[in-house]
């Protein structure tokens, strides 16, 4: 998997206060990264730096090889951003809102029409193109705002607290939409406090606390383009050959009693071969499947570890 965003030694300061401390991170293409952390951790500042809306004190962010702070305007053609306090032009219709953003993204007439139709369909607003933005419900406004942010099909989509204020159904729609966009090749970074909701679609979790990255880890196997799968195998009882077989094929295998968690390259065929090998060796497998990491538990655990160290 190739990286889309390379962040190196990012430092951001407000007068008398350092908000981000030498952050280094890599975001892979086709992933959804959940950006989590307590209030005041620096999540919004992180996203705004990533969106080239704020110039950092030092450090670099490359988006597909382009230094975004050297050429923010060009980088903006490749990214979309939705602020936590986004706004819409209430007196414009949905179509006019999308049209403005399409033309602002320098799309010409035919391209703009196609982009408006695609964005409206993506966010399920095709039947409301003539309605004024000010007349939409909170959930529909959110969709329109996302439609505006993706109208130019950016490589990177940054969403700051997109689910706040949404009802459960709208949140579910949002999760579906983000998964669809990810499946379409978009890389997404989502900041949110609602971990249960992030769990539904995130492939990675980036935890920030007091301006430091506490952890940046894989949390699911949600990536369709990944060759590597995070797996869990559970046995009925311990077996002597188990760890040996795993260590021959898997990366970073962690075996505790009857449970093992590891990454396995090679796709479904490699998983089938490993399962076959375990069965043939007489290992009493009772579960073999994708590792489902509980985002909430991981977050709490990493935060505690981070604060202890």
């Amino acid at each position: 998997m190739t990286s889309l965003v390379e962040m190196r030694d990012l430092v951001y300061e407000y007068p008398g206060f350092r908000a981000l401390h030498n952050l280094c991170a890599t975001i892979q293409k086709g992933t959804i990264t959940a950006l989590v952390g307590p209030n005041g951790a620096g999540k919004t500042t992180f996203l705004r730096c990533l969106a080239a809306l704020e110039a950092p004190y030092s450090g670099t962010i490359n988006l597909d090889g382009l230094n975004i702070h050297s050429d923010p305007r060009l980088s903006h053609t490749q990214m979309g951003y939705l602020s936590d306090f986004f706004g819409l032009y209430d007196d414009l219709t949905v179509e006019q809102c999308l049209s403005y953003r399409a033309y602002a993204q320098e799309l010409v007439a035919d391209q703009a029409s196609d982009a408006i139709a695609w964005a409206a369909e993506s966010v399920n607003l095709t039947d409301r193109l003539g309605q004024k933005a000010g007349e939409l419900s909170r959930g529909l406004r959110q969709r329109l705002a996302i439609g505006q942010a993706i109208i130019h099909k950016p490589k990177l989509l940054l969403l700051d607290e997109p689910a706040s204020g949404l009802d459960p159904e709208a949140r579910d729609d949002l999760a579906t939409l983000l998964t669809q966009l990810r499946d379409g090749g978009m890389t997404i970074v989502v900041s949110s406090h609602i971990l249960a909701e992030l769990e539904a679609y995130s492939s990675h979790m980036l935890i920030i606390d007091k301006g430091h990255i506490v952890d940046h880890t894989v949390v699911g196997d949600a990536s369709p383009v990944s060759d590597s799968a995070a797996l869990t195998v559970q046995l009925m009882e311990p077996h002597a050959e188990f760890e040996k077989i795993l260590s021959n094929v898997a990366d970073n295998a962690r075996v505790i009693d009857t449970t093992a968690q590891f990454s396995l390259k090679g796709g479904p065929q490699a998983q089938r071969d490993l399962l076959k090998k375990l069965i043939e060796a007489g290992v009493p497998v009772i579960f073999f499947g994708p590792e489902r990491v509980n985002l909430q538990d991981t977050y709490i655990e990493r935060m505690r570890e981070g604060r202890e160290t």
Partner: protein
């Protein structure tokens, strides 16, 4: 060709069918009522007044609100994320936010011109050129005021790193001050007496050349509109994260020096003033340029540290880019001041011209006096920087202005009242033959303030960070 998207969006918002009908109906009623009871001249005057109200008063409000509306509505970040370049964004906002206002203004100007051209006596009294020139001047002044209001709103926005707000009324007042300041300077005869006969309009002398009234005034207004648009363009670039090299303000200051010197040229050539007079006006302009730049510029410690870090690394292009505008103005001020000091040192004793400029007695000017004045400006700079570094609650610049008013307008009379005129060099540049007493007290103030500034700098600079690596 595609219409500027920012202009297109503003047209959608500003020019609804209902509004397009309402404006001519309301204005038509007003003009009709005036025409029933008055002459064509009265209609013409009312059209000009309506133009002032709509384009100047309402228009400056609209221009000043253009950015504030986006910020309050949460759409400014979206606009900054778009790849619309600075100039289309700037003029799209300038003309877009005032589109409806100009629609009304166009009706007023049409009525003004019609009243003159369809009423032969008016045109024969004033002349076709005067009528047309006045109409063009009215429009240009509107553009100038709108440009100033929008540019100031961007300036004040760029000042704030967080909690971004635009004081709309202040920006509107600045736009109105620009319009009426320029009008009172160039068109005082016209606005006081309405259109006088062409023969009554005085010519202008600029660098010894005689220019017709309308040629000079229109050229002046066009030049200032150009500077307002350049300011708008550069500020928009800055807000949109372009990496720009700051030269515009310096250019504007030099322009003002040359423009003003051109108007004083005949007096400067006369034998009654010394050679030093050539630099007195530029010095005043440089002082104005420095204080204006300082109060309008962002002054947070992060920007200073970035600038100094670039200088330390000898990265000259980023250093130049990050150099505060006020620092350049400060350099220009000292350059002009040094020139003036050099001329004054070449003369025998203080100059005795008896002339005054901006209330200052020029016969008291001496090299020591100018040096003391430059040191007082330096003291003010360091004091104001210190206020900004210590993060005085709320508005350090406003606090600084109040302190400076106290320093320069309250303390000197108090000392004078107490019979202590000999102590005045402590608080203001004061003419004295004693070199040490002229610059000693202010030099000591500069030294002490530098120490204070250094301490605040250390306290406000974060310690070196711990490197944390995020890895997948």
């Amino acid at each position: 060709m595609t219409l500027n998207p920012e202009l297109r969006r503003n047209f959608w918002l500003e020019l609804s069918a209902q509004r397009l009908i309402a404006m001519p109906v309301v204005l038509g009623l007003v003009f009709w009522v005036v025409a029933l009871n008055g002459s064509a001249a009265a209609v013409s005057s009312v059209a000009v007044v309506a133009f002032h109200l709509i384009v100047y008063f309402w228009g400056t409000r609209r221009a000043a609100s253009a950015i504030a509306t986006e910020i309050n509505g949460g759409t400014w970040d979206d606009q900054r994320m778009s790849p619309i370049a600075a100039w289309p964004m700037g003029w799209g906002k300038l003309l877009g936010s005032t589109a409806y206002v100009w629609y009304g203004g166009a009706i007023c100007i049409s009525v003004f011109l019609s009243a003159h051209f369809f009423h032969g006596t008016l045109v024969s009294s004033f002349g076709v050129a005067s009528v047309l020139s006045l109409a063009v001047s009215l429009v240009l002044l509107g553009l100038f005021g709108h440009g100033v209001a929008l540019a100031l709103s961007l300036t004040l926005l760029c000042k704030q790193q967080s909690k971004r707000r635009v004081p709309v009324s202040l920006c509107q007042m600045a736009g109105l001050a620009a319009i009426y300041g320029m009008s009172s300077f160039l068109f005082s005869e016209i606005f006081v007496t309405a259109l006088p006969p062409a023969a009554a309009l005085k010519d202008f002398l600029w660098f010894g050349e005689k220019y017709e009234f309308w040629t000079f005034t229109l050229a002046t207004v066009i030049a200032f509109v150009g500077w307002a648009f350049l300011a708008l363009y550069r500020l928009m670039q800055s807000e949109l994260q372009y990496q720009i090299r700051p030269f515009a303000w310096l250019g504007f200051t030099v322009f003002l020096m040359i423009y003003g010197t051109g108007l004083l040229y005949e007096r400067l050539l006369s034998n009654t003033v010394g050679a030093y007079m050539w630099l007195v006006l530029p010095l005043f302009v440089a002082v104005f340029g420095f204080y204006s730049a300082f109060f309008l510029a962002p002054k947070n410690i992060v920007l200073f540290r970035k600038w100094l870090a670039a200088v330390r690394r000898q990265e000259w292009v980023p250093s130049w880019r990050l150099t505060p505008v006020w620092f350049q103005s400060f350099g220009l001020l000292w350059l002009v001041g040094a020139g003036l000091i050099a001329i004054l040192f070449g003369q025998d004793g203080p100059v005795t011209s008896g002339a005054q400029l901006f209330g200052f007695r020029l016969d008291e000017i001496s090299a020591f006096y100018v040096l003391a004045a430059l040191l007082f400006v330096t003291r003010d700079l360091i004091f104001l920087l210190w206020l900004n570094l210590t993060g005085v609650k709320g508005k350090p610049d406003l606090a600084g202005i109040i302190y400076l008013l106290v320093f320069y307008s309250v303390l000197p009379p108090l000392l004078g009242f107490a019979g202590g005129t000999s102590l005045l060099p402590i608080v203001i540049p004061y003419p004295t033959d004693n070199f040490l007493w002229a610059i000693g007290p202010v030099s000591l103030q500069v030294f002490l303030l530098v120490l204070l500034c250094r301490r605040s700098w250390s306290e406000r600079s974060p310690r070196e960070p711990v490197v944390m690596e995020g890895k997948v």
